[in-house]
């Protein structure tokens, strides 16, 4: 049977979509799809631990990336303490302190000095 009589064939063969519109739509749909949390590479995890410890002990500012279904969230500040039982860490940011869930952390990078006062 012809494609036109099956599935969405009639509409797929007759629609008028600008290529730019199609691309923008595909991008929009990709952002809607929930993502899955990446698993961490052991070396990357070591490096992240080092940066977090440095931040807690020496007061370096770090930017922490947290996984979120639709878009990652980043927070910048100093690590105040680690709450092992709750698996969270307390981060002092410019707008106060917040608790971040350890298992959602997917990236830690040093936040350059220029952000510091």
């Amino acid at each position: 049977m012809s494609k036109k009589l099956q599935q969405n064939g009639l509409f797929e063969s007759s629609r008028m979509m600008l290529p730019e519109h199609r691309e923008a739509y595909i991008l929009h749909q990709e952002q809607l799809a929930p993502r899955t949390r990446p698993s961490l590479d052991a070396q990357a995890a070591d490096e992240m631990s080092r940066l977090l410890s440095n931040s807690m002990v020496l007061g370096d500012r770090v930017t922490i990336t947290l996984f979120h279904e639709h878009d990652d969230v980043c927070f910048t500040g100093r690590v105040l303490r680690l709450d092992r039982p709750a698996r969270t860490l307390k981060l002092l940011t410019d707008d106060g302190s917040r608790d971040l869930q350890m298992n959602l952390i997917t990236g830690v990078t040093p936040a350059g000095e220029w952000m510091d006062e």
């Binding site: 064939g9 009639l10 008028m16 290529p19 730019e20 739509y25 809607l32």
Partner: protein, 414 residues
Amino acid sequence: MPRQDRRVIMLADCQSFYASVEKSAHPEYMDRPLVVAGDPARRSGIILAACPLAKSYGITTAERLGEALAKCPDVVVIRPRMAEYIRVSLHITRILQSYTDLVEPYSIDEQFLDVTGSLDLFGSPETIARSIQSRVMDETGVYIRIGISDTKVVSKMACDLYAKKVPGGIYTLPRKDLPSTIWEKPVRDMFMVGSRMAQHLYKMGVHTIGDLANTPLSRLKERWGVNGEVLWRIARGMDDSPVKPGTYTHQQQGIGHQMTLPRDYETWEEIKVVLLELAELVSRRSRDKSLMGHVVSVGCRGQDYDRPTGFSRQMKVNEPTNITDEVYDAAAALFLRHWDGLPIRRINVSLSGLVPDSEVQLSWFDDRERKRELERATDDIKRKFGDTAIMRASSLCSSAQAQERSHKIGGHYK
């Protein structure tokens, strides 16, 4: 609440879309007739959209700006902003997606949605339609009309033939009512029937959509094959097409670009310039998507669409590629082999047989890696500073289109 055993499908259509977007962007023109015209500087530019007020002067879409000005000398003429229209269209998609995840754009100003599973949450189909209509008006200033039925084809016709004409802009057309509604209408008004098809049907004695629905299927199939069956099914409202949000994502089989030239190109000297520009566009898009192709196609057409000339041919290249020079070489070889020397007005290049570019065969004795590096650099420059920040010297020739094209989407100004 009783379980829904029929689908509830809507087609939402934007009234005078481009013109409505411009009117809400320019409130000072609210009470004035306004048109969006391809090229406002030229009277030969085409009217792309006219607001209802402009239409009341007799201005129609697709006529020349000169004719429109003759009908209404003080009409406001606006240059199109295609990127903005795409943005607003996606904004409307987002609004529709807050009622159901089953939304499928059919064109820049028409979108299908299936709300069967949303009735318990948001109320009756008419309630949902009214709510969508007022939200789209509040957030974008665009007036949408909504046709409602249980199939896509009937909701499309409910919208085109009724919702656009009734006050309120919403019309429900149950399939059982077809004989007393669209079957009375001339066959020319049916979805998928153009003026030529209508003429053929008239000659067969088919005048109304009802006549078509009651013509034996075998007669239509004999004459037009599968297209005959498509028409017969539409006339009867038979359609099980799903509303398919993923319809655009999975089906990329090829990457292609085409250009309509500003005049007839008659010599290879002129043609090869645009052929290279097309090869560059196609290759660059493939590189952006991390794809390579091993089939290159070229097509061209003459200016007279009633007496078609031109060809469309393809060939396989040795290794999958997304390098501009390689795509161009293949396209040029194909073109020269098949071109009959007649002037051309439209030309296209595409790359298919796509594979991911992560697996490239290492070759020791050519400069592919250098070319790849070079193009990575030029792509980055274009991404950062715009498409015309760096280009081939040949794009400065008089027959080149790259500069002009970089200002446009779908042949109209961005």
